[in-house]
Amino acid sequence: MTPNEIISSGKLELYVSGVLSDKEMYEISTLAENDTDLRNEITRVQDELIEYAESFGEEPSEDVRAAIMKDIPNNVIPFKLTTTNKGGGGTGVMKFMLAASMTAFIISTIGLFMLNAKVDKLADENAVLKERTTQTAQLTQAYQDKLDFMNHQSVKKIKLEGMPQSPGNYVMVYWSPVTHDVMMSSGNLPPLPADKQYQLWALHNGTPIDAGVFDAGNFLTLKKIEAAEAFAVTIEPKGGSKSPTMITMSAMGKI
């Protein structure tokens, strides 16, 4: 059916109600992507059906809204020091390194002043502070290593872009054809349910090769990849799959 035929057929109320066959739902959705009139008519029909439902007059109490918002995890992905980072990796890492260096400096300064007072107590406290400084230094070194890798001359930076059904997705992959190391940042991929994970695949001569699994908000080193012409991300059961579930492809990019 053409868009105009669909509009005059009265099928759109059935479409919005979700009761057409899978094939018809798909056909109309696909046509609507390229036809403004059809899209507008779907919106009009939908608004009408929404008003119709609302005309029955019931309203949920305010408690429901509060309960929902309470049960939805915080919008901000919590910043995990060792393995994760928000988005593209640039500013966030720099800010963290600055904070880490400042913290290390402050901790050392306090340690020095306190040494001048009482030795025994200070010896204990100093040991604790030293431990924290060491940990922070290790963390800073870990991030420095990541930055060094990302900036290495041999490393290829590949931006994986979203598919037509999920435009706007992006993932950054850093791959060295020389050392075979792979690092990735999950970009803006949304969180998944607990039983699923994202999986990175390297595509070489048309064959997908498993590069490892990750979650939304991760900035990680994954499995080594010897050769690739492209990378892709799919959604798999937690732990990953042997071969990619192609219809869940969330992002892809060629080298």
Partner: protein, 181 residues
């Protein structure tokens, strides 16, 4: 419940849910929660269980947003299905708890359908809706829209020809348009 986000397009809404999920969920609640709540009540009939289901539905929508596939229909349709399914599950579990007779899955589906065909004008909100829609048109529209029946299912349930179902759905739409112009 004021509508804050009147002119947001489907595309913009999906993009907001991706890039600013907190705002996206706020929009979904502002724009759709009242309608979805009424859909749920049409199925489960009582307000308290309906509020529980609405809550569960929105949490499920949040958790499963990555599996929303726009090639299958609009966001509202996807949410509508989630609400209907949770409501039907609630009805079935309620019947199991009561230990009623004839509790095979098939029979509980028929029980749902029997409940669905009750038409009680006194439960309707606005008088206009009742006056505006002939009962037989409304009956078919409600089966399709609230309960998610295909026209073939509705024809089987109401024991009227498919052609009649189609005509009545069509007429219900025409009447609706006049009411909401």
């Amino acid at each position: 419940m004021g509508k804050k986000y009147k002119n947001i397009t489907e595309e913009e809404l999906v993009a907001t849910l991706r890039d600013d999920p907190g705002k996206g969920i706020d929009i979904l609640y502002e724009n759709y929660s009242k309608a979805l709540f009424n859909v749920i009540i049409q199925i489960v009939k009582e307000k308290d269980p309906a509020e529980e289901i609405l809550h569960d539905a929105y949490v499920k929508i949040w958790k499963n947003f990555s599996s929303y596939d726009k090639s299958k229909g609009t966001l509202y349709t996807w949410m509508l299905n989630i609400c209907r399914n949770l409501s039907i599950d609630k009805l079935r579990s309620r019947e199991f708890k009561k230990g009623s007779q004839n509790q095979s899955i098939e029979n509980s589906v028929n029980y749902d359908r029997a409940m669905a065909t009750e038409f009680k004008p006194e439960h309707i909100g606005l008088k206009e809706v009742v006056d505006g829609l002939k009962p037989e048109f409304k009956e078919v529209l409600d089966l399709v829209y609230f309960h998610g029946y295909t026209q073939a299912d509705a024809s089987e349930e109401l024991k009227i020809p498919l052609g009649t179902v189609k005509t009545r759905t069509r007429n219900a739409i025409i009447e609706l348009r006049k009411l909401f112009k």
